[in-house]
């Protein structure tokens, strides 16, 4: 995977994760173009599209769009389920996650993503294991703070 973007129906970026080296300028241009392209698509359309030399896989959950850019040989359907698994993880962690959770706790959203995907590849697909890692970290910070 080359990058993942989360954005709202108003086109506001909520999370961006880049797995390839790109300058700030390029990132901004890509995000702008892609957000525009996807928001212009109608609800029943296909979740995949060719964009430049990448394949875009996206899905909308409530007010948020989750969008991944993968390479030519990558599998679209499994990428779609990567998105879903990430949504499940957020949901489980926050308890019925909504856009506001991700806005106010953006750092947590990044931490969970890093446990699930690293370098653009699935690191741990078990929901239990990912959440266990996050909970352990949460626990660790409490212990440290009590000392």
């Amino acid at each position: 995977m080359q990058f993942m973007l989360l954005f709202s129906r108003q086109g506001k970026l909520r999370l961006q994760k880049w797995y390839v080296p790109l300058s700030d300028k390029e990132r901004k241009k890509i995000s702008r173009d892609l957000v525009q392209t996807i928001l212009a698509r109608k609800p029943k359309m296909c979740s995949f599209l060719e964009w430049r030399d990448l394949k875009i896989v996206y899905k909308r959950y409530a007010s948020l769009y989750f969008c991944c850019a993968v390479e030519d040989q990558d599998n679209e359907l499994i990428t779609l389920e990567i998105i879903h698994r990430y949504v499940e993880l957020l949901d489980k962690y926050f308890g019925s996650v909504c856009e506001l959770d991700i806005i106010f706790n953006f750092e947590k959203a990044y931490f969970i993503l890093d446990e699930f995907l690293l370098g653009g590849e699935a690191q741990e697909t078990s929901k239990k294991n990912v959440l266990k890692a996050i909970e352990q970290a949460d626990l660790l910070q409490e212990v440290y703070e009590m000392v």
């Binding site: 040989q73 990044y110 653009g120 078990s126 909970e135 352990q136």
Partner: protein, 924 residues
């Protein structure tokens, strides 16, 4: 409620985020942010030391501001400080800030690397993972330099925690992608491969991404992964849906891992070991069978995960392209998906079928779905799906269905989305030309194309139709009649006027017998369009008019009148004015004979690669942005060349089609193949360049004199087997004085490996010494190895550099095959980039025996009785490199009358087709 509500929340941050959200305007938001930035700056600069919590809070605010899209130019140092905090939460925020915001050339990288080093050696798995995540997120070269040696150790160490192994594997993958030269697996290779056997599914899931990437780059070193991957896959595929516990996703066992395993296998050819292969085929069959079982859940996640595996399995089947039974089953399965109610599945089925269409085993099976695909083109509501359908129609097109497919694509064009029209036009034009049985159909198709989508018809397309009409006299009358009819439309596209003007100017006489299209009617029709056209088209029409004067003397007065009018002869455009003046003069002073000679019918164009195909290839290249023509100048004008000379040369590039010019004589590349460098001019300096063509003379032969000057003669003898070669070099001292410090070196491009046996530094006068060079071909290549020879002769240093005649064709193994096989394979290699073609003038005699000897010398098998035309030659061979074998087919069509050749190469690798074509084209 989980941790969110716990005491770690940063109140100040939450307040700030709320403030931003409450801003009514962009200006208010910027104002609030600037206020916050000033506040943070003063806090960071203040003389009071900040506690860890405040530092964390402010760094987090900066991060939030950055993610809103604002630039952040401070706070990096504070973030780095957080890395060495002993509070986990502070460390974590520090790492996050750096992952998101630090670019690789930051001066802070040393400090960051230090902190990472500490955490990696802390033996605390949570800290280690944080550090590894940071490396994987930044992935800079400096980090690779610092950690690429350490991480493999962590990855394979027996006492590393599973979660750390997972992070280490993917961290290494990121470093490898960014700096492959720094990540050396070496001794760890086999232990890394064996991670595929790890008990922990998460470790396998992470490690396999690394292994796949490494395998694709070094297939040989990692080839033991194939059998491990097959057995792992087999265990997953045959497991019950609950066996894998949390790795089962909506009743599908380990879908991510399954997909990755199937993907890894696509780095390799089918397993050679029968047992392994049998097991794999069984897996693939099971996956195909499961697709027919009723779903275990109605959730879309279930079917997506299941089908993700199915599509990956089909990709593997297509990659192998050797199991007809599986290929046909795959095709049937995709056929079912073509009518599925899920748009996503229809899209993927169309996409996947496109690759199936090029396999000889499934091409026919794909063709049976033509009606469904046409229907998709007409009814799909999503343009990206329609685009896939159009691609598939293009891929499944052959002679049997070309008329139907072209007709459907044409009718689709009328309503096609603007974004894909240009590509569609090119595809229609190519199919029409490729499968034209009768050329009247071809002409109809192209004229329809112009009528329907004139704006998207590029120059290449209408140049091409003219080229073909000129070259084929059986279609000229029909073309004239058809354009004449097309021009009757009250509004016709300017491209139609161009084609019409050109064709009527050449062949209007063929329809002039009919009173409905008498010369004057033709002229009036053309001239009625004149005023609506752009300058280049008008220029073309003026040329058509002068051609009319020659064809039909009875139109002379009318046309002269037109030319004489102020709007022509005093036109403000210089080009138009000049034409009007010159044509008027020409028509009044030249005798009929002179006129007939000057305005003679156009000679046939030399056959060459379709320029449309070249354009599509370009379009389909990386980036796939539409390619603008470099020369905006109108060059479709057919008289501009005859202004000066009365007999246009038959090969003059009148239409200026930008295809590869026929290579004749020494090309620049041939000139620079041999580099002679005399650092100190010796007596031999004058003989530089003697062997300019030395390199190319050895393409089709292995022995001979490679180089000779007044001092030295170098002869070679070489032999090749598989991907290995051995070359004997004979250095002859032509003088009576000894050469001292005689030293030779060979520098190879990366695709070759060479070993040279060193010589004694003395070569006596009149003596000959022999040297052996062993060469191994790792993968296909273009650049030849460079031989550098240095020696002293009478005190002067001699320095000679030569290209060694090691060319890709040396590694050919001839392949005999029957005509049917040949054509089947030929067709399989029909993607534009797989073909390379050159049309060129013969530089030597065209003697049959000489040609045959050269083709045999190339290394391929010369196949008799294959080409229906006995004048043509076809050859087949396989290029053996260490990395892969590349099958290669060749066809050479001599045209004795024109003293020309057309050479076509097809192979599974574009670089190989091109290289062999380039080399061979210089040989005849």
């Amino acid at each position: 409620m989980p941790a969110v509500s716990k005491g770690d929340g940063m109140r100040g941050l939450a307040v700030f985020i709320s403030d931003i959200r409450n801003c009514k305007s962009k200006e208010a938001e910027i104002k609030r942010i600037n206020k916050e930035l000033a506040n943070i700056r003063s806090k960071f600069k203040g003389d009071k030391a900040l506690d860890g919590y405040s530092k964390k809070k402010y760094v987090c605010k900066l991060l939030f501001i950055f993610l809103l899209g604002h630039d952040i130019d401070f706070g990096h140092m504070e973030a780095v400080n957080l890395l060495s905090s002993n509070k986990y939460t502070e460390k974590q925020i520090g790492y996050l800030f750096i992952s998101v915001l630090v670019n690789s050339n930051s001066e802070l990288i040393r400090l960051i690397n230090n902190a990472i080093k500490n955490d990696l050696s802390s033996r605390n798995p949570t800290f280690m993972c944080l550090a590894l995540h940071c490396i994987a997120n930044v992935g800079s070269r400096e980090m690779a330099e610092a950690f690429a040696g350490e991480i493999p150790r962590i990855l394979v160490a027996g006492d590393t925690m599973d979660s750390v192994k997972q992070s280490a594997a993917l961290c290494l993958l990121r470093l490898y992608k960014a700096s492959p030269d720094l990540v050396l697996m070496g001794e760890w290779t086999s232990r890394v491969v064996h991670l595929l056997n790890d008990q922990h599914m998460g470790v396998v899931t992470a490690a396999i991404s690394l292994i796949t990437c490494l395998s694709s780059k070094n297939p040989d070193e990692f080839k033991t992964c194939v059998s491990l991957a097959v057995s792992r896959l087999s265990r997953i595929v045959s497991s019950a849906s609950t066996d894998l516990q949390d790795y089962t996703y909506y009743f599908v066992p380990a879908p991510w891992l399954s997909c990755k395993l199937l993907r890894l296998l696509q780095c390799y050819p089918p397993p050679e070991d029968g047992a392994v292969k049998g097991r794999l085929v069984e897996c693939l069959e099971t996956i195909l069978n499961k697709a027919q079982e009723p779903p275990k859940s109605k959730k879309v996640q279930h079917s997506n995960a299941k089908n993700a595996i199915l599509f990956e399995a089909i990709s593997l089947i297509i990659h192998y392209d050797s199991e007809p039974n599986l290929l046909v089953r795959a095709c049937n399965q995709l056929g079912q998906f073509l009518q599925h109610r899920e748009t996503n599945l229809r899209y993927l089925a169309l996409e996947s079928m496109c690759t199936l269409a090029s396999s000889e085993f499934s091409h026919e099976a794909v063709k049976t779905h033509i009606e469904t695909v046409i229907n998709a083109l007409k009814t799909e509501r999503d343009v990206s799906v329609r685009q896939r359908a159009a691609d598939l129609l293009y891929a499944m097109c052959d002679r049997s269905n070309a008329k139907q497919i072209v007709a459907e694509m044409l009718s689709y064009l009328e309503t096609a989305d603007y974004s894909i029209r240009e590509e569609m036009v090119l595809k229609v034009a190519i199919l029409a030309e490729k499968y034209a049985v009768d050329y009247s159909w071809y002409v109809d198709t192209i004229l329809n194309l112009i009528r329907i989508a004139g704006d998207y018809v590029s120059e290449e397309v209408w140049y091409r139709v003219i080229q073909i009409v000129i070259n084929r006299d059986d279609v000229q009358g029909y073309a004239a009649k058809t354009v004449f009819e097309a021009l009757q439309a009250p509004a016709c596209h300017e491209n139609m006027v161009k084609v019409g003007g050109y064709i009527l100017g050449e062949f209007g006489n063929l329809i002039a017998g009919d009173p409905r299209s008498s010369p004057l009617v033709q002229f009036n029709l053309l001239h009625s369009k004149f005023h609506l056209c752009s300058v280049p088209t008008r220029a073309l029409l003026l040329s058509a008019y002068i051609k009319f004067i020659n064809l039909f003397p009875e139109t002379k007065a009318t046309i002269q009148e037109v030319l004489r009018s102020d709007s022509q002869i005093r036109n403000s455009d210089v080009e138009l004015q000049q034409r009007a003046v010159e044509y008027l003069k020409l028509s009044s002073i030249a005798s009929t004979d002179v006129l007939a000679t000057v305005l003679e019918e156009m000679p046939p164009f030399p056959e060459r690669e379709s320029s449309i195909l070249a354009k599509l290839k370009k379009k389909k290249g990386p980036g796939a942005v539409s390619v603008e023509l470099e020369d905006g100048k109108e060059r479709g004008d057919y008289l501009s060349h005859s202004n000066g000379s009365s007999t246009p040369s038959p090969s003059a590039d009148l239409l200026g089609l930008r295809s590869t010019a026929p290579a004749s004589g020494a090309t620049p590349s041939a000139g620079s193949l041999l580099v002679d460098v005399f650092s100190e001019a010796g007596p031999s300096a004058t003989s530089a360049g003697v062997n300019d063509d030395g390199f190319l003379r050895f393409v089709c032969k292995n022995n001979g004199v490679l180089f000779e000057n007044q001092l030295l003669q170098i002869g070679i003898k070489s032999e090749y087997r598989q991907n290995l070669g051995r070359m004997y070099l004979f250095y002859g001292n032509k003088t009576s004085v000894q050469f001292v410090s005689f030293n030779t070196t060979v520098s190879c491009p990366g695709e070759l490996q060479s070993h040279i046996l060193q010589l004694e530094p003395l070569v006596e006068g009149g003596a000959q010494v022999q040297q052996v060079i062993n060469i191994e071909c790792l993968t296909d290549f273009i650049d030849a190895p460079l031989l550098n020879i240095k020696f002293r002769y009478g005190g002067a240093l001699q320095n000679i550099s030569l290209k060694l005649p090691v060319t890709i064709n040396k590694f050919f193994q001839p392949t005999e095959m029957a005509a049917a096989d040949f054509f089947q394979r030929w067709k399989q290699l029909s993607q534009p980039q797989q073909e390379a073609q050159k049309i060129f003038k013969a530089s030597h005699g065209m003697d049959t025996e000489v040609l045959k000897a050269k083709l045999l010398g190339l290394g391929t098998a010369l196949l008799e009785n294959v080409d229906p035309n006995p004048e043509n030659y076809v050859c087949a061979g396989v290029i053996q490199t260490k990395a892969q074998q590349v099958g290669c087919l060749l066809r050479l069509e001599p045209n004795a009358q024109a003293q020309m050749y057309r050479l076509t190469l097809r192979s599974s690798k574009d670089t190989v087709s091109q290289r062999v074509c380039d080399l061979l084209a210089e040989q005849f």
